[in-house]
Amino acid sequence: MAGVATMTRHLGATRREEWRRAWHRFRASTLSLVGLGIILLMAGAAALAPLIAPHPDHAGAFVDFTHTFRPPSRAYLFGTDDIGRDILSRVIFGARISLSIGSVVLAIALLIGVPLGLIAGYWTGWWSSLIMRVTDVFLAIPSIVLALAVTAVLKPNLTNAMIAIAFTWWPWYTRLVYGEVLSVKQEVFVEASRSVGASPWRVTFREILPNIWSPVIVKLTLDMGFVILVETGLSFLGLGAQPPTPAWGTMIAEGRIYLPGNWWLATFPGLAIFVTVLGFNLLGDGLRDVFDVQIEQWRGGA
């Protein structure tokens, strides 16, 4: 049927049009674009680190006492450190560590926090209250303190730092999802799906969950920055990545004793942290603008 075929093609055009619209709204803010640019740049640097770093071998336990404490120059854009390693190379490899820690921590937090929030929000019973009270207890303790306690118990290394941060991070997602579920479960379509025989699991994971992704995605983006910040904090305190791992926090900790004379040791990793966190925050704000409008359109119906 030719008519149906044209309709389908028309529909495809409509879908593409929606993406263009979303992109248009995102683009409306220069800051969002800057954020996206920073993140793409960081992700690219992390992915291609061995190719673009001028001295890939400097990322690990490399020693060259003939080139220690070189200030930033054409040969070493960010200078060299106390044992002659190129700081630019180490900062580029550090992006790998920071981004992967952020992703892993948030993936764990998401896997634990979202189902718990869904269950606590949809079901009513003592176990729902229990989930939320445990969540409240976790939220009452500052995450850096909790993470410090956990890493102090475990051995201080990168994996344990990730576990510790994830351990403190999931309650935020439980809280967020819980609140969203409470409002979405009042919608008529939830009752409608129950009236045609959907099971409670189906209603929560298939009907409600897809309706609450947008605030979760926005929070994930914003949290990438914060998780990186907490991880660098732990590494700075010696509870995260251990030397010679080129984690930004560790690099600052190592370089701080040479301040202020050899300032480039600590400054460039610090700048990397600052720029990355800023990038995720700008991106998150931009995404929120895009999603807010879409939610209004969905809820409004027409």
């Binding site: 529909l11 799906s193 129950r194 045609v196 099971s199 309706n211």
Partner: protein, 333 residues
């Protein structure tokens, strides 16, 4: 009693709501029967307990509701004794519901096709004999067929559309398709089409009426609109303040009403000729402290002393026609 066992028989159903103000006796001992293939309308003003009755039949009462007594017999089984899991198996497959507001009753983030397929595949999905993709393909065919049955324009293309891309009337048709796709024996329609404009409402209701008649589906229409009830139903239950006031075959209710409330309802219908209807004095009573005997007594133009002392019971005043009013003591006395 009818000779054939009815598909649905509600017997002496009483439901209380636990409220801050106390116990609200929202449903006060109602009886309701629907035969196979019959269309019944439950008519009453807003807040008289029509929707609560429907939700009780579907097992979707809010947590603060309590079924005090009564039975809901569906095909011979008492629904009130079912476990939540058994009830869920029944919903959609044997009893389904068409919702009032088509703009909120569809999930905004899924396409029409996904929602229809979900309803079909939630049970036999991932079955052992069929592969999942084959099941999906078969389901797709059935969805298109169903959308064609409810006369949605361009059923193939509509599968890929989101609810926000459809008009109100189209969404109402999708909701009807969702309720009918599993071929339930009983469909409850809660104020169908009220959110649509009148011409489309009439068109969809007439199509729905013909559709369920040809499929042999039993219907329970919940409505405050007597015009709608007249158009779609075989029999009408007039409900007032959680009680059944009058039961009558549709045509006979419109030629003469026995209960004063039913008379008032009909008088309140605006007509093209003459003045706007009179309406009924007063409001629906408070359910926490209802009138002691006849709940309509405070508003009734014919109230008598007995109405405040003895609750009028539903009695057969004429063949196939019952009323709960002291004005009609029944043929026996």
């Amino acid at each position: 009693m009818r000779p054939v066992e009815p598909l649905l028989a509600v017997r002496n159903l009483t439901i209380d709501f636990h409220l801050f103000e106390g116990r609200a006796q929202v449903i006060n001992g109602i009886d309701l029967e629907i035969a196979r293939g019959e269309s019944v309308a439950l008519v009453g003003e807003t807040g008289c307990g029509k929707s609560v009755t429907a939700k009780a039949i579907l097992g979707l009462l809010p947590p603060n509701a309590e079924v005090v007594s009564g039975r809901i017999l569906f095909a011979g089984r008492d629904l009130l004794t079912l476990s939540p899991g058994e009830f869920q198996q029944l919903r959609g497959r044997r009893i389904a519901m068409i919702f009032q507001d088509p703009s909120t009753a569809l999930n905004p983030v899924f396409t029409v096709g996904e929602q229809l397929q979900d309803v079909l595949l939630q049970r036999d999905g991932g079955g052992r004999t069929w592969s999942r993709t084959r099941a999906r393909r078969a389901a797709r065919g059935r969805c298109v067929e169903m959308l064609r049955v409810v006369r949605l324009p361009d059923p193939e293309g509509s599968l890929a559309r989101y609810p926000a891309e459809l008009s109100g009337g189209m969404r109402q048709r999708v909701l009807i398709a969702l309720a009918l796709i599993q071929n339930p024996e009983l469909v409850i329609a809660d104020e169908p089409g009220t959110a649509l404009d009148v011409s489309i409402q009439d068109q969809i209701l007439l199509e729905l009426r013909d559709l369920v008649r040809t499929r042999g589906t039993s219907m329970l229409y919940i409505t405050h609109n007597l015009g709608v009830a007249r158009m779609v139903s075989d029999r009408i239950y007039v409900m007032y303040a959680g009680e059944i006031a009058e039961i009558a075959p549709t045509q006979r209710l419109f030629t003469g009403q026995l209960h004063p409330y039913a008379q008032g309802l009909l008088a309140a219908i605006p007509r093209l000729t003459g003045t706007i209807g009179e309406g009924i004095e007063g409001r629906i009573p408070d359910y926490v402290t209802p009138p002691p005997a006849c709940r309509f007594e405070p508003r009734c133009p014919f109230r008598m002393a007995v109405c405040r002392e003895v609750r009028p019971l539903l009695i057969e005043a004429e063949p196939d026609r019952s009323v709960a009013c002291h004005l009609h003591p029944g043929p026996k006395t």
